[in-house]
């Protein structure tokens, strides 16, 4: 067990190192000079003042130091939890900008990923080898999973928001509300959360349903299923076993899909003006706020790594074979 996890941790550590390095490199590769654009946006029209501001910001951001020094500083700051100061939202620290946005993204992504996974697996398992369902539910699944996230999101926003007026089309909660712990406010949060959640949920749902349907057909045709059938076991039991075994590759699939799901969430947030990381990244791109970009990407990488690790643990708990293998290795 220790070997298994230390291996995994090594991989994740390496990934993090690479990600940090890549992130550090982002601004050094980007065209344009962030200080120049920042100064340009400040309406200073006296050359002397411009030079003063430029020198000031360059010093502040450490761009005048040698590269290795910048790199070392970057790691040092990172370990202190200091991601620098946002240029776009100057002078707010990046870590603060991110912490404010993260709850929204998590609230969107965690339930939609988990629920779509659970429900999709159920659907797929249920539809497999049932002709009527297989021919009705699954085509819908294919269509859903093939949809571009933002297309569905925009259509939903238009239909349920603008036309029917059932749901708001922007914001994390009503613009007339102030956060508090009342039921009204919680319902309001859910109200705003519903459409972005739904579009993420639906697209992911189709993928899981199809994955599970294909997986479970393999399992239903497997030897242990045939043996149980030959012993007259009811199909309920056989399906239960098949489901349990088909879920294992789906768990791995969840880990593999995380990156795609995160990207989907970001795009969806943009469509619904949901105040999470997605909207932030878009603006960071548009404003060339590389400190913010670095921060968000690092955060996403970290999130994905943690999620991967959790999935690893879950997998070990769920699949006896990994545990058995490890027990054997220890003995």
């Amino acid at each position: 067990m220790r070997r298994y996890f230390s291996r995994k941790l090594l991989i994740y550590g390496l990934t993090f190192f690479v990600a940090v390095t890549v992130n550090w490199m982002i601004p050094r590769f980007m065209p344009g000079d962030p200080v120049a654009s920042m100064v340009a946006r400040a309406n200073v029209n006296k050359p002397e003042a411009v030079e003063a501001m430029r020198a000031y910001y360059t010093g502040l951001f450490g761009l005048d130091q040698p590269l290795w020094q910048q790199y070392a500083n970057f790691w040092g700051a990172l370990l202190r939890g200091d991601f620098g100061v946002s240029i776009w939202l100057f002078p707010t620290p990046v870590s603060e900008v991110i912490t404010r946005a993260v709850p929204y993204t998590l609230a969107l992504i965690v339930p939609s990923v988990l629920l779509s996974w659970v429900v999709g697996n159920r659907f797929g398992a249920y539809a497999a080898r049932r002709r009527l369902l297989d021919n009705t539910v699954l085509p819908v699944g294919y269509v859903l999973t093939a949809m571009p996230y933002m297309w569905l999101a925009v259509l939903l926003a238009w239909a349920f928001g603008v036309i029917l007026g059932w749901f708001p089309v922007a914001g994390g909660y009503s613009f007339s509300m102030r956060p508090n712990w009342s039921v009204t406010f919680l319902l309001d949060l859910l109200h705003h959360w519903a459409l972005p959640f739904l579009s993420l949920f639906l697209v992911a749902l189709g993928g899981w349903a199809i994955g599970m349907r294909n997986m479970i057909i393999y399992e239903l045709e497997s030897d242990y299923s045939n043996y149980l059938a030959a012993l007259g076991a009811p199909s309920r039991l056989i399906r239960r076993y098949a489901f349990r075994n088909a879920v294992l590759p789906q768990i791995t699939g969840l880990a593999l899909q995380l990156g795609v799901l995160v990207a989907g969430a970001l795009v969806t947030e943009i469509v619904f003006a949901y105040p999470g990381l997605g909207s932030l990244i878009l603006k960071a791109i548009q404003n060339k706020d590389f400190f913010l970009l670095q921060g968000t990407f690092l955060f996403i990488v970290l999130g994905v790594l943690i999620a991967n690790f959790i999935i690893d643990i879950v997998y070990v708990v769920v699949d006896p074979r990994t545990r058995a293998g490890m027990a054997g290795a220890q003995a």
């Binding site: 497997s222 030897d223 242990y224 045939n226 043996y227 059938a229 012993l231 007259g232 294992l248 058995a324």
Partner: protein
């Protein structure tokens, strides 16, 4: 008679038409009898084994009946068959190595299986039977992946016979095992009969030598039909059907070594069962075939219990 199969015809639906995998087979099985079912690949022995417990989706009964302990088996009605499976007819599959759900501990799996069939798990009895085949009780708290191949095989044998079925079909159970394990399996099967866990048994194999050790009666099939059926000694010592003789001649020394491939070592190949020509199906390969062989040979009982389908006997 424990089992009575008469004129059983089972066809496979394929793209090019029906394959007559089983084309009118009649035989009986006494209480306590072990029948060895031999023949080369594609002779219909596996189809027969499957038909008696669970047809797969492409199999179809084209005629004939199967009666077990006086009740007709609804072999082509998957649901109705469920009542008979496990309790009346049971199976030790060819794929015993992978027959156990990999993600359940055995105790739980056996318990769930039994409960689903409305039978309580008698843990003591289970452990007793396991120890009879040399499985320690700790095995029950393991996952299948933690067992060796032989252990899995024995575990499947124990599970399949837990409800004391009347008829046990052992489908090629030894083909994947080495010789000493084969012997152990054979001994275990005999033990099952002695202790009354199973009444009668059909032992499907292409290993005529091993069959001789275990079976009371041996039935040789060829191209979907019965060629010869007789007590084991008679088949081995005084075979009458030319096919049986060729089979035995191909073996260097009966009972010493099995030689799987030799069975197919006879020149030529069986006719296509898609649309088989009339007459004796062995005709084309038969060294003594004559004109009369153009017609279907009847099954004749030469001596009591010795049935042969050949014009030349």
């Amino acid at each position: 008679m424990s089992l009575l199969v008469s004129e059983l015809k089972v066809h496979y639906r394929t793209l090019r038409g029906d394959v007559r995998a089983l084309d009118g087979v009649t035989f009986g099985l006494r209480d306590g009898e072990i029948l060895g079912l031999v023949g080369e690949s594609g002779c219909g022995k596996s189809t027969l084994g499957k038909s008696l417990i669970r047809m797969d989706g492409r199999m179809r009964r084209a005629g004939g009946t199967v009666v077990l302990d006086g009740r007709e088996l609804p072999i082509d009605d998957d649901r109705a068959m469920n009542a008979f499976r496990f309790r009346e007819v049971s199976l030790i599959p060819q794929y015993a190595m992978s027959a156990l759900n990999p993600t359940r501990k055995l105790r739980r799996m056996v318990g769930e299986l039994l409960r689903s069939r409305g039978a309580p798990l008698d843990a003591e009895e289970l452990e007793r039977r396991m120890s009879q085949v040399g499985l320690p009780r700790e095995v029950l708290d393991r996952y299948p992946i933690e067992l060796s191949g032989g252990m899995k095989q024995r575990m499947v044998m124990v599970i399949s016979t837990l409800l004391d079925p009347s008829l046990l079909i052992a489908d090629e159970v030894t083909s994947a095992l080495d010789v000493s394990t084969q012997k152990a399996v054979a001994r275990a099967l005999l033990g099952f009969r002695e202790r009354g866990y199973v009444k009668s048994m059909i032992f499907v194999t292409h290993d005529i030598a091993l069959t001789h050790h275990i079976a009371d009666t041996i039935m040789v099939m060829y191209a979907g039909r019965l060629a010869e059926k007789a007590p084991a000694d008679v088949i081995v010592k005084k075979p009458r059907h030319p096919y049986t003789r060729l089979l035995l001649d191909a073996l260097p020394e009966v009972g010493v070594r099995y030689a799987d491939r030799r069975l197919e070592g006879i020149a030529g190949s069986p006719p296509s069962l898609l649309d088989p020509p009339p007459g004796c199906r062995f005709r084309a390969r038969c060294p003594i075939a004559g004109d009369e062989c153009a017609e279907d040979p009847p099954v004749a009982e030469l001596t009591p219990g010795h049935h042969v389908a050949c014009w030349k006997v």
